[in-house]
């Protein structure tokens, strides 16, 4: 990736790493880069911080506005902005425009940024029209995979079929659907530490669905939810492993699941 070969920014894809992936599971961001590059896009990762989602949901509009302006100036010149997280993409796409009064230049900028911001699977399927080649995972056929639809991606961005399509193409297996795949897992950002008992009950309800689906692997598209579910599964001594869906789509072996080490 030498500087001479790089196309102008207006043709590059910027990766919105997302705080949680940056800090706790870089492998997800690496997987996102690999998948986007696979379809011929040039990926750049501008030095970034946080999209402001926690502040926005806490009611800290002023602080979010500052972070939003920061993000706009970082990302607005790229062709696309892709996040391996539905909730971070939705913060930009759906909520940034709410921070500024309609008709203001900032509002206009937010709308423009929103248009080119996508959740990873939404981008790959709907924009890049990606058809992934089937890869041979040794035990994919016998593995039962369940999918948790994280709330923001599902309800704010309409992400539901896209990751399923990618997984179907790539692994050649159908998802073992949970009856409660669309019910919140109890993460909710600060909610899970503000009301830990309620949050725990909610994740326990989610786990009932995982158990009923007899899943060996649980996938999802938002690391916050996945850390919550994986953390509870592990505490309860469950054998079910949790990954971000992108980790299973790459060429390499996904390695240990969330909360596990070699």
């Amino acid at each position: 990736m030498s500087a001479t070969a790089s196309p102008p920014k207006t043709e590059q894809v910027a990766l919105l790493v997302t705080c949680l992936s940056d800090l706790f599971r870089p492998q997800i961001a690496h997987a996102a880069v690999e998948l986007i590059e696979k379809f011929g896009y040039w990926v750049d990762v501008p030095r970034q911080t946080c999209c402001g989602q926690p502040a926005f949901n806490a009611g800290e509009k002023d602080k979010t506005r500052i972070l939003a302006e920061n993000m706009i100036s970082l990302f607005e010149s790229y062709r696309y902005v892709i996040a391996p997280s539905g909730s971070c993409a939705a913060t930009i796409k759906v909520h940034y425009p709410e921070l500024f009064s309609e008709g203001s230049p900032e509002h206009e900028q937010c709308m423009k940024l929103g248009e080119k911001t996508h959740e990873l699977s939404g981008f790959l399927v709907d924009v890049a029209k990606a058809a992934l080649e089937k890869k041979s995972l040794p035990d994919a056929r016998s593995m039962r995979i369940a999918y948790h639809d994280s709330c923001s991606g599902l309800r704010e961005l309409g992400i539901r079929s896209q990751p399923r399509k990618l997984l179907g193409d790539r692994l050649g297996v159908d998802i073992s659907e949970m009856s409660n795949s669309e019910v919140c897992c109890g993460f909710g950002g600060l909610f899970c530490v503000k009301y830990p008992e309620i949050s725990t009950r909610m994740v326990d309800n989610k786990i009932v669905g995982i158990e009923k689906a007899e899943a060996d692997v649980l996938l999802g598209g938002d690391l916050g939810c996945l850390m919550n579910i994986a953390g509870r599964l592990r505490r309860l001594g469950s054998e079910t492993r949790v990954y971000h869906y992108a980790e299973l789509l790459t060429d390499s072996d996904p390695g240990p699941a969330i909360g596990y080490q070699k």
Binding site: D22, R47, T49, K63
Partner: protein
């Protein structure tokens, strides 16, 4: 009704330990959701009806004075009386004034959440009247001396066993035997209530819709108790709130298609009755007096705020049935008349934000309520709006205030941010290396993060932050 919303944390925690509640809520949740889904799918253009309802309500709210005046004059024209109540105290005073006559002793009552706001039953009882709730759920919680935990299924938190015991305790003296089966329970309630219907002097009901251009009250029930409450006594008092007015019968048709489906998954509730004034000269039955108490209690104030959308609510209960917080902690934890998502929006507005500081935060903003609300109220956005207000008023906790302040400083400075995050990852990795048990990839405990680690493991971060790894990759290339 007494406001206990400020104890949300404690009551919610206690509720989570209540196995009976868990069983009762678990059963109800599944039933409500599945039946609603079927009923909604049955109506091809359900979404168009939602849009119609949203627009109609918005229109009425924008011209509320006009429609209320029209409604009032049509009620008067049909021989009824209209009373305007600014707050709960006035509601109770007006109803007491109607009831205070020498020959009035017993009052039957259909379900009315508005009357719960001012604890009308307690007010009437204190004045010496016998008040009997006639909706089965309301009757059960009246016997149990509790308050409703759901706006359409007030006793949803009760198990059948609990009802059996309650009935036994209260009906035994009158010669009734212990009933266990669902049908027997319903039949016994029917017998007991029948006596009350026939001997009541006043009947109080709520209303689902007020039809402006005819002055009619639309009352929708499944048990028919509302009709017996309204028709048998000499006086019918309707206690209802101002935002329930709709323009005409055409609009009613639209709302009826939404209400039954959203509330109980019925295409149509069993009884839909329109009441128009008192008995006319050639009517065979009906009350001699017909009173409508129109309650404001802060609603007209909400009208002028960014929370106006909540006044579209038709009290169907779908938002709470689909709320994973509500179905976990039950309705009582919310501490006032209205629980669940709509309650968390409405309660702080009606009783004051200081009395309900937790409600706007006790939500993951998962948005499921918004997708099922028949009048398309953006409930999560309104809850966030409450949070914005709390922040502006400086009403958030110290931890949040300072935490957010620090976070926003760091997040504004990319260099500082990458230093801090790298340091944090390093620290966690060191911690993991120090404690052998953590080397398997998960922390069982992290200082200052007990709220997470008390019930969940926390993953040990992978080596270093993505951004520092990316920087290395860029240098290599």
């Amino acid at each position: 009704m007494q406001v206990t919303s400020r104890y949300f944390r404690t009551t919610a925690r206690e509720a989570l330990l209540d196995e009976d509640l868990r069983a009762a809520m678990g059963r109800a949740e599944g039933g409500f959701i599945d039946t609603r889904k079927m009923a909604v799918e049955e109506l091809e253009n359900f979404e168009e009806y939602r849009e119609f309802a949203r627009k109609t309500k918005n229109h009425v709210l924008a011209h509320l004075d006009y429609y209320l005046t029209q409604f009032e004059s049509n009620v008067l024209a049909s021989g009824g009386q209209v009373h305007w109540a600014g707050n709960g105290e006035e509601v109770n005073r007006i109803v007491l004034d109607i009831c205070r006559r020498p020959d009035i002793r017993k009052i039957t009552k259909g379900k009315s959440m508005v009357s719960e706001e001012s604890a009308l039953n307690a007010g009437l009882e204190a004045a010496g009247f016998e008040v009997v709730e006639t909706d089965l759920g309301e009757y059960i919680i009246q016997l149990a001396r509790e308050t409703p935990s759901h706006i359409i299924a007030p006793a949803v938190h009760k198990t059948r066993q609990a009802v059996t015991d309650l009935f036994d305790e209260h009906h035994r003296e009158a010669g009734y035997s212990r009933v266990v089966e669902r049908l027997d329970i319903v039949n016994q309630a029917r017998q007991v209530l029948r006596d009350h219907f026939c001997t009541a002097d006043v009947g109080i009901t709520g209303a689902n819709f007020l039809i402006a251009d005819t002055g009619s009250i639309a009352l929708i029930t499944n048990e028919g108790n509302g009709d017996l409450t309204a028709n048998l006594p000499n006086i019918h008092v309707v206690v209802t709130s101002i935002e329930k007015v709709i323009p005409d019968m055409l609009a009613l048709g639209g709302f009826l298609r939404l209400l039954g489906r959203s509330a109980t998954g019925q295409i149509m509730s069993v009884y839909t009755t329109l009441f128009n004034g008192p008995r006319r000269i050639d009517d065979l039955d009906g009350p001699e007096e017909f009173h409508v108490v129109l309650v404001d209690s802060g609603r007209s104030e909400i009208l002028g705020t960014q929370f106006r959308d909540i006044l579209r609510c038709i009290k169907c209960g779908a938002c709470m049935n689909h709320c994973p917080v509500y179905t976990s902690v039950g309705g009582h934890a919310y501490g006032w008349v209205y629980p669940g998502p709509m309650g968390s929006v409405l309660t702080p507005l009606m009783v004051g934000q200081k009395k309900a500081p937790d409600l706007p935060y006790a939500c993951t903003l998962n948005g499921r309520c918004k997708t099922v609300c028949p009048v398309m109220i953006p409930l999560p956005d309104l809850l966030r709006e409450h949070r914005n207000n709390l922040v502006e008023m400086g009403q958030t906790g110290v931890v949040q205030r300072w935490g957010m302040w620090l976070w926003s400083i760091v997040a504004r400075k990319p260099v500082l941010y990458s230093m801090m995050t790298s340091l944090y990852v390093l620290k966690l990795n060191l911690l993991a290396r120090m404690v052998p048990a953590f080397q398997r990839g998960s922390f069982k405990y992290i200082p200052m993060m007990g709220a997470w680690t008390s019930s969940r493991d926390f993953p040990v971060p992978q080596a270093s932050t993505f951004q520092s790894q990316w920087k290395k990759r860029a240098l290599h290339d």
